[in-house]
């Protein structure tokens, strides 16, 4: 017993074993970390930081604060009830003159136009005319130049611009906006379509996931049970789409499904239909193309789980008196669930971000969130909106993942 204690308490050189172990462990961990470091840095620099910066755009906008500094400052004491006093109008005139001189009126006009559609033009013309104003009183003069400055909502907007942070883009993304008194109101019907877009994205993703599951599950079963020679061939056919570019695959569907494409020609030749069926540039085309692309993502995790289920399980069930279907349903199928869940989660999350495919084979009413993110980023150059839509999609995805994790448990998933 005495020797035992000595052995545990210290090593020959008198250093406690626990500390020695820590040293060894630390060295081992350091080595492991060094292996991960390059990828970690890459992801941090090329992925996490840009996305973080982009997300930040959803709530951060200092256009008005920096381009109209004096008006913003003057408005900080405005109570928001009546029109601001002469001091503020003087600041506005100064800012407009300065903006005109620096040729940045367009940026201010664009920002104001987001929240007050049509006001942008008046801002530009006000700035052009404001350079002629040499002395006050500015209030009456500016209202004279444009009735815009006699409205309270533009002043509310400018006062909100005093803060570099705004909830406007996020509100817009879920069909709300600021009213004349900075209160939150529903967007007018003609611009309230984002909730629909999100629901559509969700609907298409769920439908595509369900379709890939229905189509993929039997094939996965066949793959897992066939002898290796045959199943390898089948496997190649399944992963073949991975070897062709997404664009090629998608345009191939255009060729197949268009009005005088192969499918319609065959249907008409067989007299199934007398005129071409609309198969593309609508929901059907979107669903078909997306299901085709997503099929391997759903199928492969299911297959890899099925591979691990011993054939003896179904045999045991049969020997215990269960018919073929009962044995499958009660013994085999429940064991595939970790794979089914993993495959469906993968496909569902990938579907949420689809952009190219609906763009090419979908109609105007089939565009998903990705389309609008691209639209705002590339064409409207309204990065605030693009960021807000992206942020909401990302949050929704993480939320769904969290719920899924609570229900199924991600540690039970088998990705491959």
């Amino acid at each position: 017993m005495a020797t035992m204690t000595v052995q545990i308490a210290g090593s020959p050189d008198g250093m406690p074993l626990r500390i020695k172990l820590q040293q060894v462990e630390r060295w081992r961990k350091l080595k492991a970390f060094t292996l991960v470091l390059p990828l970690l840095l890459f992801i941090l620099v090329a992925f996490v930081l840009p996305i973080g910066r982009m997300m930040f755009n959803a709530i951060h906008d200092e256009t008005l604060l920096t381009l109209m500094p004096q008006t913003s400052a003057a408005l900080s004491v405005w109570d928001g009830k009546d029109l601001p006093d002469e001091r503020v109008y003087a600041a506005l005139a100064k800012d407009l003159k300065q903006a005109w001189a620096q040729k940045i009126t367009g940026m201010i006009a664009k920002r104001i136009n987001y929240e007050l559609p049509g006001a942008g033009g008046q801002v530009t013309s006000s700035a052009r005319k404001a350079i002629t104003l040499s002395a006050g009183p500015y209030k009456a003069a500016l209202i004279e130049i444009s009735p815009l400055w006699g409205q309270r909502d533009v002043w509310s907007l400018l006062k909100r611009g005093h803060s570099a942070y705004t909830a406007y883009y996020l509100l817009r993304s879920v069909d709300y906006q600021y009213g004349p008194e900075s209160q939150i109101v529903a967007s007018p019907p003609e611009s309230a379509f984002f909730r629909n877009v999100f629901l559509r994205t969700l609907g298409i993703s769920i439908s595509v996931t369900a379709a890939t599951l229905l189509l993929g599950f039997p094939v996965a079963y066949l793959l897992a049970t066939l002898p290796p020679k045959t199943s390898n061939l089948l496997m190649i056919m399944i992963v073949l789409p991975f070897w062709t570019s997404l664009l090629v695959r998608t345009t191939a569907w255009v060729v197949l499904l268009q009005d005088h494409g192969i499918v319609n020609d065959v249907l008409m030749a067989l007299h199934v239909t007398s005129q071409p069926v609309e198969l593309i540039f609508n929901r059907v085309g979107t669903m078909v193309a997306m299901t085709h692309i997503q099929l391997p993502f759903t199928l492969l995790p299911i297959y890899s789980v099925m591979k691990t289920i011993p054939t003896t399980h179904v045999r045991a069930a049969r020997s215990l008196g269960a018919g073929p279907f009962y044995a499958f349903w009660k013994v085999y199928f429940p064991q595939t669930l970790p794979g089914v869940a993993a495959g469906c989660l993968l496909t569902f999350i990938l579907c949420l971000g689809y952009y190219v495919t609906p763009e090419l084979v979908g109609g105007a009413t089939d565009q998903m969130v990705g389309h609008f993110v691209a639209l705002y980023t590339n064409e409207d150059l309204n990065w605030g909106m693009a960021s807000a839509l992206g942020a909401i999609l990302l949050t929704a995805t993480l939320l769904l993942y969290y719920v899924f994790n609570k229900l199924v448990g991600v540690d039970r998933l088998k990705m491959g």
Binding site: P310, T312, H313, R315, A316, A317, R318, S319, L320, G321, A322, G323, P324, Y326, A327, K330, V331, P334, Q335
Partner: protein
């Protein structure tokens, strides 16, 4: 041999091929009476598991008929055969608890709730797992999983229970304990058991009768003692128990016995089991424990000198590897009952054996 009328299971002219070229089972004829514990023993690839799977209904015989209680079961799907089965890796359903596993065959049979509960309790007590009903198979040890598999195969009172190397994954001690447990359960329930194993010790311990398979053919069907004492051919002699083989040629037939000429050594008197013609090659089979050291002169018809090559001390007995009649791998088993035998390699000793312990078999 049981007569055909009361055979519980009867394999009649069974052949099985997977590829249409080689037969995995060649012309099998086997009858199993009700209540018997029959073991199919053989090396891997000998056709024993295929035979079991045909009986269970997972493989279809290429030719021949299997009768269960006198009725052909050729066209009966597995779930209608009412045969309990214990698989090699237990095949317990991992997503169900022990109880759910046991309830499965009863639910399929649409038994009442009270009856199901009574049966579950009885079978769990039988395998001494009463406290583990709510656990999942993954939380049990190998031996416990084995017991659950056994209980599941028995819980619905099947007519016949098949076991496919059920103890293969257990360690030696647990395996021996389970062998006895299964044997006792069989004795208590009186159920017919067909057991497949490649472990001859297991087969000898548990079985009423053993069918030795090799190369798709049943080599011998006999009770354990019969099989060990009187193997009918060289394969059985070699596969069941330890065995010294001496190769030679039949020199003379003498009724029940014969004289066998070993090249480069003296003639051996042996029991003529599987030899008929003088001049044919034969293999003599001799159990290591039947060889006596330093026999009294004249007490044995076969007395030879042997050069000790190796002495291995094994506690209850000493194994001596020696060179006898030109065969270097001749093993002698000496019991440790009369004190440790003092032998060293290189020593020349005298050994002897009886005529009836030395069986002249086919020279396969």
């Amino acid at each position: 041999m049981p007569d055909a009328k009361n055979a519980f299971v009867k394999f009649s002219d069974i052949q099985k091929t997977y590829d249409g070229e080689t037969l995995v089972v060649k012309n099998l004829n086997l009858e199993i009476p009700r209540g018997e514990f029959l073991t199919m023993l053989g090396p891997s690839g000998s056709g024993k598991t295929t035979t079991l799977m045909m009986l269970a209904g997972f493989e279809v015989p290429t030719q021949g008929t299997i009768l269960l209680e006198g009725r052909s079961i050729d066209n009966m799907p597995p779930h209608k055969r009412d045969i309990g089965m214990v698989f090699q890796n237990y095949a317990l359903f991992p997503h169900m608890t022990v109880e759910e596993n046991l309830v499965f065959p009863l639910k399929v049979r649409k038994l009442g709730k009270a009856e199901i509960e009574a049966k579950i309790k009885r079978v769990l007590d039988m395998v001494r797992l009463g406290a583990h009903g709510k656990r999942r198979p993954g939380q049990l040890s190998g031996g416990q999983q084995q017991r659950v598999a056994l209980a599941r195969a028995l819980v619905f009172d099947p007519k016949l229970v098949l076991m496919d190397e059920p103890l293969g994954a257990l360690d030696k001690q647990l395996r021996e304990q389970m062998q006895l447990e299964i044997k006792h359960i069989h004795e208590n329930l009186g159920v017919t058991v067909v057991y497949v194993t490649h472990d001859q010790g297991e087969a000898l311990t548990m079985s009423d009768r053993i069918a030795v398979f090799n190369d798709g053919v049943v080599q011998q069907v006999a009770a354990p003692a019969e099989l060990y004492e009187r193997p009918q051919n060289a394969f059985v002699a070699q596969f069941v128990g330890e065995n010294n083989q001496l190769r030679g040629k039949v020199a003379a037939m003498n009724g029940e016995t014969c004289k066998v000429e070993i090249p480069g050594a003296a003639d051996v008197q042996a029991l003529a089991v599987n030899v008929e013609v003088v001049g044919r090659p034969t293999v003599l089979s001799l159990r290591p424990e039947r060889v006596k050291l330093n026999p009294a002169p004249g007490s044995f018809p076969n007395v030879f000198s042997a050069r000790v090559a190796e002495v291995i001390y094994l506690g209850d007995h000493v194994r001596v590897r020696a060179s006898v009649c030109g065969h270097d791998d001749f093993v002698i088993k000496l019991p440790n009952s009369e004190g440790i035998v003092q032998l060293e390699s290189g020593t020349v000793i005298t050994i002897g054996w009886k005529t009836e312990d030395c069986r002249a078999l086919d020279a396969s």
